[in-house]
């Protein structure tokens, strides 16, 4: 920053520090926010058709445009929104899903976010109000991206970076929900577009750079295959929670054993 009007010998940086003590962190928020926002852009392609498909399912089940949108604004968790949209089809009818059934399913599908928050809280230092805000927009995708790409941030991922990544999906998910709720019936389905493959491709892109060391590869294999097996009998969100916890336990146990062997050998 060149300022030719300043007197010779003027120390700009010390002036700035003294006059604007809060400018550092405050001005750093938006650049970090936009970096987080942009890092999610490759995932938009996969999100839009699914939000549209959710909205079409919800509308077909009898939800109004406002109710369809309200679920995306509040719950904001794709898999559980799809499940609920389907369950609402028989809502209030004999043999249909009950309110308790829909809420319990939602809880089971979304309990895995506890694990994401727990893992994120070790990487990012957040104040109490920041935690209240960041919690609302936490998703699989934002967690994965912040965990893997956030390491490239100077000093690790900040609140701005996390919120940018989270809101990137929130904005797209809600805009696409509205699009689907209003005119979704004429838009092509995710199956027709083949975009279902984008979600696993994105996560694979995050996983590949993490696969260093035998234990890590073993954990990924065990967790992935366990999830595949469990997914035949259990709902998706619960599968992620069980396989995720099981794989991490295996990793911790193998690490502990390796350390014990090293100590015994030393």
């Amino acid at each position: 920053m060149r300022t030719p009007l300043l007197p010779p010998g003027f120390n700009f940086s010390s002036y700035k520090l003294a006059a604007m003590p809060a400018s550092g962190p405050a001005s750093a928020f938006w650049p970090a926010f936009w970096r987080g926002f942009r890092v999610m852009i490759p995932l938009w392609l996969g999100m839009v058709p699914f939000a549209v498909a959710y909205a079409v399912t919800a509308r077909a089940s009898g939800l109004s445009v406002w109710e369809t949108q309200m679920m995306s604004l509040t719950v904001f968790a794709g898999a559980s929104q799809f499940a609920a949209a389907g369950l609402f089809a028989g809502y209030g009818m004999a043999g249909g899903a009950s309110a308790l059934g829909i809420v319990a399913t939602t809880f089971l599908l979304n309990a895995r976010h506890l694990l994401y928050g727990l893992s994120l809280s070790r990487q990012v230092t957040l104040t109490r109000p920041q935690r209240l805000i960041a919690a609302q927009f936490l998703t699989d995708e934002a967690y994965g991206m912040v965990t893997v790409k956030g390491g490239q941030e100077p000093g690790g991922p900040s609140f701005g970076y996390v919120l940018g990544a989270e809101l990137s999906l929130y904005v797209v998910w809600n805009a696409s929900t509205l699009l689907g709720a209003l005119g979704g019936a004429v838009l092509p389905s995710p199956e027709a577009l083949g975009v279902g493959v984008i979600f696993p491709l994105a996560f694979l892109g995050l996983l590949v750079p993490m696969l260093r060391g035998r234990v890590t590869v073993l954990v990924a294999l065990a967790s992935g295959l366990a999830a595949w097996g469990l997914s035949r009998v259990l709902p998706g969100g619960l599968v992620i929670l069980l396989a995720g916890v099981g794989g991490a336990l295996l990793g911790a146990w193998l690490t502990g054993r390796k350390t014990a062997v090293q100590e015994a050998g030393a």
Binding site: L114, Y116, L204, A220
Partner: protein, 98 residues
């Protein structure tokens, strides 16, 4: 119960786990549980991928796309390139009727 009320309850059971996990950052943990948390990302991400590929009705195409996308990311280190390359591979197989 109105649909809107059910949606509010869905929110009421979704938000607390998201918030609770974020609040446990300062809890002191023994080495075993620190190692556990270190393995959470790799374990969760693998669990998100495999059922979406092998459990899909179109799993051969998705498996091929994953191999191509995975190789691209491995060689280039570029996530967006891996997604686009994998998606292109998926469509190449699908267009050829595979």
């Amino acid at each position: 119960m109105s649909i809107a009320a059910v949606i509010v309850l869905m929110w009421a059971v979704t938000y607390p786990p998201r918030w609770l996990g974020l609040n446990l950052g300062r809890v002191k943990l023994p080495p075993f549980w620190l190692a556990f948390l270190n393995f959470v990302p790799v374990s969760v991400i693998a669990a998100l991928i495999v059922p979406e590929v092998l459990g899909s009705p179109e799993w051969p195409r998705r498996l091929f796309a994953s191999v191509v996308g995975g190789l691209i990311v491995w060689r280039s280190g570029n996530l967006a390139l891996g997604i686009l390359g994998g998606f292109a591979a998926y469509w190449a197989v699908r267009a050829l009727g595979g």
